[in-house]
Each structure stands twice: as C-alpha cells, then as structure tokens.
C-alpha cells in the first residue's frame, strides 16, 4: 500500500505539534514555577515585577515551613497512613477478590452484590456517621482510626477478582494434589501470578491515600495528627499570617515522594487509572 500524505494532513500534523507543545508548556509551567519558587527568597516572591527565575536561591522557605507547622509530623503521619492503609487494603482486597473469583461458597452472589453496592455509594454520604462512629469507638485522632476504614475497598476487591478469574483453572487442582492448604494455594500459587494486578492496586491506593484531603481532615482534629494534604490546606486557609514561600516549599515536599515513585513505576500509575476509571 502506498502512503501519500495529502497537503491537508501535513498541515494538520504541523498544527498538532504546535498545539501539543503549547499544552505541554501549560501543564509544565506551574510545576516548574513551583519547584523554582520554593527555593526563592520571600522578598523575591512578592517583588514587583515578578520573575520566574529569581536571582538567589535559599532553603529559608523550607526552614520556615518546618518551624511554623509540624511539617515533620505531617510527613510521618502521611507515610504511616498511606503505607499502612495501602498495605492492608491490597492484602484484604486480594484475599476477598480471590474468594469471589476461585472459591464456591454459600451466599457468594448476594455478598458480591453487597460489595458492589458499597462501591456505588460515595464517601461523602457516609462521612458524618463515620465520624460519629469513630468518635464513639475512640478512633478519632489515632493511626488505627485513620487506617482501619481504608483497609479494604470495594473497588480493589472488584479489580483483584477479575485478575484472579483470568488464571487457568488447573492451578488449584495441582496445589490440592500437592497437599497445600487452601491458604497455601492462594499465597504460594495464585498470589504470585497476579503481581502486576497487586502492583497496580498498590499504586492506586497509595496515590489516593497520599493525596486524600477530606477524609484525613475529618478524622483528625489535633494538629499533631494531620496529614500533608490536610495540614497544608489548613495552613493556607490562614492567609493573613503566612508567607508565600513556605506554602510553596510545603506543596513541593508533599508532591515529591509520589512524583519520584511515578518516575520509576509510571506504567502502574497509568494502568491503575485505566483499569479503574473510578474516582474515589
């Protein structure tokens, strides 16, 4: 087949590259500006006319954010919350997904419908009773209280179920003949075969938990228990008393860990989005 590009198609591809480059600038500019401005001196951030590059770079804004809010605490809390709930959720989601995909038991259908129902209900609707319940159980302002409600997700169960369902049927039989227990079959044979799914789900949970704002905002009331998103949002809410530089330094520090993980595990970030399509 001969490919003859018409004049209009050539023009189109020129326009395409110009537009794409333009969008790339729009996407990158705020991020680059953030990365540079976090290192500027406060007086250069508020100087007129503003300049993108500035002249002198300093860590002053970083020092300020650590001294004006318990930033180190926020980082620690976010790491504990995000890693803890992600780890537990991936484990429990995959166990439950496995049961729904590979085991036959009474009430399977109705239980699965129940799982799907909880997937349809947005978090905001359960927010107030969840707060009251956590308060009654003494879970507010504790790590357990932050982690436990996020230690499983209907979406994760749904996703792991489809990963386990795609494995060939003979696998369990072989395991049973070898005398493995049911949990042994799951853990030693089946789980290693769905590692791509596990990684995808891990990234999905990690990204959502790390960035979550409303949930930690509601479940923590002491400044010492806030996560990065919640702590920074409240810090910014106090416009009159704060410098601009520390806000930017805090924002940069809060996105950096995920961006670094994104560089290495880009594939799983994209699949976590494309297999999900569900926003939490």
């Amino acid at each position: 087949m001969k490919k003859t590009k018409s004049a209009s198609d050539t023009l189109l591809s020129v326009i395409k590259y110009i537009l794409l480059t333009f969008i790339m600038i729009i996407v990158l500019f705020p991020l680059i500006w953030l990365a540079i401005s976090a290192f500027k001196m406060e007086k250069e951030i508020i100087s007129f006319p503003p300049s993108v590059l500035g002249t002198k770079y300093t860590l002053k804004s970083f020092e300020r954010i650590f001294s004006s809010i318990p930033m180190a605490k926020y980082i620690k809390n976010t790491v504990i919350f995000a890693l803890g709930s992600t780890f537990l959720s991936v484990m429990f989601d995959s166990m439950t997904g496995y049961a729904f995909a590979r085991l036959n038991f009474k009430g399977k259908h109705i239980l699965f419908i129940l799982v799907l129902l909880t997937m349809m209900v947005p978090f905001q609707v359960m927010m107030i009773p969840l707060f009251l319940e956590s308060n009654a159980l003494g879970l507010l302002d504790t790590y357990i209280g932050l982690i436990l409600p996020k230690a499983t997700s209907a979406f994760g169960i749904f996703m792991m179920r489809s990963y386990f369902a795609s494995l060939p049927k003979e696998l369990e039989e072989a395991g049973r003949i070898d005398g493995l227990s049911e949990f042994g079959i799951y853990w030693k044979i089946m789980f290693p075969l769905v590692i791509p799914g596990v990684l995808t789900l891990t990234i999905f949970h990690l990204m959502n938990n790390w960035n979550d704002l409303l949930y930690p905002l509601m479940m923590t009331s002491s400044t010492q228990m806030r996560t990065l998103s919640a702590g920074l949002a409240l810090f910014v809410g106090d416009h009159a008393t704060t410098y601009y530089g520390p806000q930017l330094a805090g924002a940069l520090l809060s996105v950096l860990p995920l961006l670094i993980i994104y560089i290495f595990f880009q594939k799983y970030f994209i699949t976590s989005v494309t297999t999900s399509g569900m926003k939490e």
Binding site: F48, L114, M120, S181, Y244, Q266
Partner: protein, 298 residues
C-alpha cells in the same frame, strides 16, 4: 490435638475457607461502610448537632428545610455549573490529546508522561501553586496579562471569575486521567479500519469522525459518567483555594455539607440530609452505567 485436626479439615474445604478469606474485608466494609450508610439515612431524619444537645426525631423536616434553604440551592447550582463545564472540557481535551498521542513514538510517550504529571499531584499542592501563581497582587500570571493589556484579573478572588478558575484548574489537573483511559480505547480499535479508509482516501479528520469517534462511544460514555460522579463530589479544589467564596460563589454541595457538619452550626442532621440528597442525585446518574457494567461482567 483432635480438635485442631478437625478444624484443619473443616477449613480446608474450599467452601469453608472462603469465609476466612472474606472475613477482614467483610468486617471493615460492614462497620465502616454499610453501617454509616444506613446511619446516614437515619440521621437525616433527626435534629442532631455535634454536641448532642436537643437531639430528636424530626421526620422530613430537614428535607423540607433544604428545599427552602437558598444556600442549599446555591450550592447545588454551583455544583451543577461545575459539572456542566468541567466534565465536557476534560473529555474534549482528553479526547483530542489522546487521538494525537495514541500511536507509539518517543515524542508521544514523553507527552503522555508530562500530561499525566498533574494527576499524580495532590489537589492541595496544586491549589497552593495556582493560588499564588494567580494572586492578584504578587501573581505571575496577572502580571503577564497586564503586560498584554488585561488588567485586574481577579481569578480566585473575583465573584464572577472564581468558579471558572476552579474549573480551569481542575481540567488542568485531570485531563491526563481521561486521556490515559481514551488512549487505551483508541489503541483497542483494529488498525484494519484505518487502513481500509486510507485506501478510500479518507483524511485524518474524516477518520477521526467516521472511525475513532463511533468506536470509542462506550469508553466515552464510561468517562462521561465516572467524571460526572466524581465532579458532583467536588470539594478539594474549592477547599484549598476559595473556601467557597467569594460570596458563596464557589460553595459546592460537599463543601456545604462539610461546613454545616464540621464548622458552625455543627448541624450533623442537616448535613446528613444534604448528603442523602447528593446520594440520590449520584445514583440517578450512575445506575445506567453500573447496570451495563455488571451485565457485561456477569
């Protein structure tokens, strides 16, 4: 010893083991999702504040109050406006970019990675960055606009510009998400369609409208509904940038729920009522999608 053996035998029947596999998730989902959901429906019928003073059953009084509450209607209106502009913009931009980047080349791969960057960033960090970048006193963007003759661009602080700015920021952050889903959809379309139409002499534009668009219908519908559900829950971007202001012009439903329940007047009953109304709205929109999704999976 005998007991242990019996237990082992019992639990190694797949039908019994299944319940142990389910147990952790089931307990968590029941305690932290099913119970709160039911409680939400009940609390919406109660007068209840955070200090539990004067708690009592009031029937549908909260719902009646909502229908005459101008702040509720304002929040609903703002939410609808947000959805009506944010969702189509995100899908159209996502679609055009996905169509341009679907084939695998080095440039395309790099562009995709760049467009996905804001998706990874938290709305808190994005909100802080945009607020300062667009600040009317010290912001870089208002300064540039002034150079080209656009004066006093207020962005987040203007009554008429705040909502469009929140929408623009959300599209900026999220279009890479829709793009990624649509790229997978476009890559799933058989190459033979395009080859056949090329022989017929169809140009790229015609191919887009006669092949890509119709065959992407399901994926687009999926994006439309999930984006709409997500957008109806808009909160983070408003909370970080405008807090619902100026003059309640960006106050959305979830923002109103949060403020009513967790700030003055700490009215949990009424906040629950609004959240139940939000649930009804969301279910109404999402049911067709779930129906389709489950029928395909089962």
């Amino acid at each position: 010893m005998n007991k242990l053996k019996k237990w082992k035998n019992f639990i190694n029947k797949p039908g019994n083991a299944a319940y142990l596999f389910l147990l952790p998730s089931a307990v968590i989902l029941i305690v932290f999702a099913v119970v709160p959901l039911i409680a939400s429906l009940i609390i919406s019928l109660f007068h209840m504040n955070i200090f539990f003073t004067g708690t009592g059953f009031v029937g549908l009084a909260n719902f009646k109050a909502a229908f005459t509450d101008s702040r509720f209607w304002n929040a609903l209106w703002n939410t609808v406006i947000f959805v009506l502009f944010e969702v189509p913009l995100q899908i159209v931009i996502g679609l055009l970019v996905a169509n341009a980047l679907a084939s695998t080349s080095l440039f395309n791969k790099a562009a995709r990675s760049v467009f996905f960057l804001p998706v990874v960033c938290s709305m808190a960090a994005v909100g802080i960055t945009w607020s300062i970048l667009l600040d009317s006193n010290i912001g870089f963007i208002p300064y540039v606009l002034e150079l080209i003759g656009i004066k006093n661009a207020a962005f987040f602080r203007g009554a008429s510009t705040a909502m469009p700015t929140v929408i623009a920021m959300t599209v900026w952050k999220n279009f890479g998400y829709t793009m990624s889903i649509l790229i997978v959809g476009i890559q799933g379309i058989s190459k033979s369609y395009y080859e056949a139409s090329e022989i017929d002499g169809a140009g790229k534009v015609k191919q887009f409208f006669s092949i890509t668009l119709p065959l992407l219908k399901d994926t687009l519908g999926f994006c439309l509904i999930t984006n709409t559900i997500g957008s109806l829950q808009v909160f983070d971007q408003v909370y970080v940038t405008t807090q619902g202001g100026p003059q309640y012009r960006t106050e959305t439903l979830v923002q109103y729920i949060y403020k009513t329940g967790f700030n003055q007047p700490y009215n949990l009953g009424y906040a629950s009522t609004i959240s139940v109304l939000l649930l009804i709205l969301i279910l109404f929109i999402s049911l067709p999608m779930y129906k389709k999704m489950f029928m395909e999976k089962e």
